[in-house]
């Protein structure tokens, strides 16, 4: 699969390869109503990785189904609907309004957005709120539900267990890791305290609370993705897959087929490739070819035998 938000609405990649190359297409995060997203700049390059702050721009469920969904039916490609809300009710209404369809194989709930009713704290950080939201969503949809978790938590196993005990049918690990970048060039003619929005002699302004849409900091706040995330994601997959009985989908910095094998060995039953596609838009077909060659070389008829192989 692709990671949510890294393959547009699907049709954009079709001039390079067909979406039926995928095991399943994961939608860009969708919400009940359209969202405009954040003002630019929205992306920042880091060493071997990136920060993004797209702000969940999307056309909303209704337009998605009217304009973009038919492509996947035509291509006979299963899809996973990634969805989000800013309050519990938005999540629930969103999930409830998605009509079951043979092509929709799962819903993936993005638990990394700021909850506006809880002071902008991200939903996915407390086991209690994860349990509550998943339980309520599950009551309103018969479609299998996968919980996509943020890595910015004290104990990801606890969060995953809460999701599973509330009825989650799978866990995606991991979402991007929150980070900031600072453009040192903004200092020219200034000094460090002014870069933080304070006048000389005053204490620098504090970093904004979580969920604030724009930092009063000269720089860039966003989710880190790409290869720097891989060891963190592998650990999350290894720890969680041993603790829960539902399938784990691995994601975080996967760039080639060797990365995929590592995620399978750590316990993932499927993987998502995201940022790698931005650097090489053929990353996904190349990974599939690489896996095929690996299977031939090792006489494997299925990759399942690799799942969890790293757990001695």
């Amino acid at each position: 699969m692709n990671g949510s938000g890294t393959l547009g609405y699907g049709r954009e990649i079709e001039s390079l390869w067909s979406v039926d190359t995928l095991g399943a297409y994961v939608t860009k995060g969708l919400s009940l109503k359209p969202h405009h997203g954040n003002p630019p700049p929205r992306v920042w390059e880091e060493r071997q990785g990136m920060l993004n702050s797209i702000g969940l721009q999307n056309v909303g469920l209704e337009r998605f189904f009217a304009e973009y969904f038919p492509l996947f039916k035509e291509r006979n490609t299963p899809i996973v609907i990634n969805f989000f809300g800013f309050v519990d009710e938005e999540y629930i209404e969103c999930a409830a309004s998605i009509r079951p369809d043979p092509f929709i194989v799962a819903l993936e709930i993005n638990l990394s957005c700021p909850n506006v009713t809880k002071g902008g704290i991200c939903m996915g950080k407390e086991a209690q709120s994860v349990f509550s939201i998943i339980e309520r969503v599950k009551r309103r949809t018969p479609i299998p539900l996968v919980a996509k978790l943020t890595p910015e938590v004290a104990d990801i196993v606890e969060i995953a267990q809460a999701a599973v005990s509330a009825g989650a049918d799978g866990i995606t690990l991991i979402n991007t890791m929150p980070g900031i970048a600072i453009d040192f060039r903004t200092l020219s003619g200034g000094n460090l305290s002014s870069a933080h929005g304070a006048r000389e002699g005053e204490a620098p302004a504090a970093l904004p609370r979580e969920g604030a849409t724009r930092a009063p900091l000269i720089g860039f706040r966003g989710g880190l993705s790409g290869p720097p995330l891989k060891p963190i994601a592998l650990k999350a997959v290894a720890d969680v897959s041993r603790a829960v009985r539902v399938p784990v989908i691995g994601a975080g910095g996967i760039t080639d087929h060797e990365d995929v094998i590592q995620f399978l060995m750590a316990g993932a039953q499927a993987v998502q490739v995201g940022t790698a596609t931005f650097i090489d838009p053929f990353a996904i077909p190349k990974i599939l070819a690489g896996l095929g060659a690996y299977m031939d070389e090792h006489g494997l008829s299925r990759l399942e035998s690799l799942v969890g192989a790293a757990h001695a």
């Binding site: 997203g37 990136m50 993004n52």
Partner: protein, 251 residues
């Protein structure tokens, strides 16, 4: 579309911090529309994203770009030697649309000329071209484009009209002939002045914008430009752009 391997055949400074790079491709690109761009994988392990460059020229399987060194990516490209291998994805984006019955007026500021050269090749018989830059050194960017004196300007007055290209255009509006249609590429403040200048007569205008990009293919929604479309204000510079109608974007 394919990700095409290319070999750098030329990568030379034209003047201070401006370079021209010619890349010979292993296979031909699809038909190029003026205003389109390529995503170039800069040959350096330090550089993560590909970089977007306007297609300055294309022919005989060789794509030419002009660039100014502004950051890590362009500096890494500037130090790439001849024969270095690169990957090129393109042509990408929504290019210029030329409408019949108008006089094309091309307006380039500085390195913005990189995005207008191909269009000029197409319309030069009936159009006119205004070029503004900081100093006369940057006339090197004009290459084979020959302009009469009044149609060039420098901020320091070292050659041509002294001032910016929009001030030059303002002085020359009466020369533009019947039904002008402006095509522009340059820095952000240039677009704002252009909008002010063209507003009264509501002269039609398309602008080629520059945005920081990650994928260049419309996958990430990272390179958006705000438009006046209330339903979906943020449009991708890489798909809906990089050429936008001046009257539909918010500046």
């Amino acid at each position: 579309m394919h990700d095409i391997e290319g070999v750098i055949r030329e990568n030379l400074p034209l003047c201070q911090s401006f370079y021209r790079c010619k890349i010979e491709l292993a296979r031909p690109m699809d038909k190029v529309i003026p205003g389109q761009f390529i995503m170039l994988k800069v040959p350096s392990a330090e550089i993560f994203f590909r970089r977007p460059f306007s297609i300055y020229d294309y022919g005989k399987r060789t794509v030419t770009i002009l660039y100014k060194t502004v950051g890590k990516g362009t500096r890494a490209l500037a130090s790439a030697p001849r024969k270095e291998r690169v990957m090129v994805l393109g042509p990408l984006g929504h290019g210029f649309e030329v409408h019949r019955g108008y006089t094309p007026v091309l307006v380039a500021g500085g390195i913005g000329i990189a995005g207008l050269r191909l269009l000029w090749k197409q319309v030069k018989k009936k159009g006119c071209f205004f070029y503004g830059c900081s100093t006369d050194d940057e006339f090197a960017l004009l290459g084979k484009i020959t302009l009469q004196q009044p149609r060039v300007c420098t901020l320091d007055g070292s050659a041509g009209f002294c001032g910016n290209v929009i001030q030059l255009l303002e002085q020359s509006l009466h020369l533009l002939g019947e039904r002008p249609y402006v095509y522009a590429c340059g820095p952000q403040p240039m677009f704002a002045s252009l909008k002010g200048l063209l507003a009264e007569k509501r002269i039609p205008c398309q602008v080629l914008v520059e945005e920081r990009m990650a994928c260049g293919l419309g996958l990430c929604f990272g390179c958006v430009r705000k438009t006046l479309d209330d339903r979906e204000p943020y449009k991708r510079a890489c798909v809906e752009g990089p050429v936008f109608d001046l009257w539909q974007i918010s500046l």
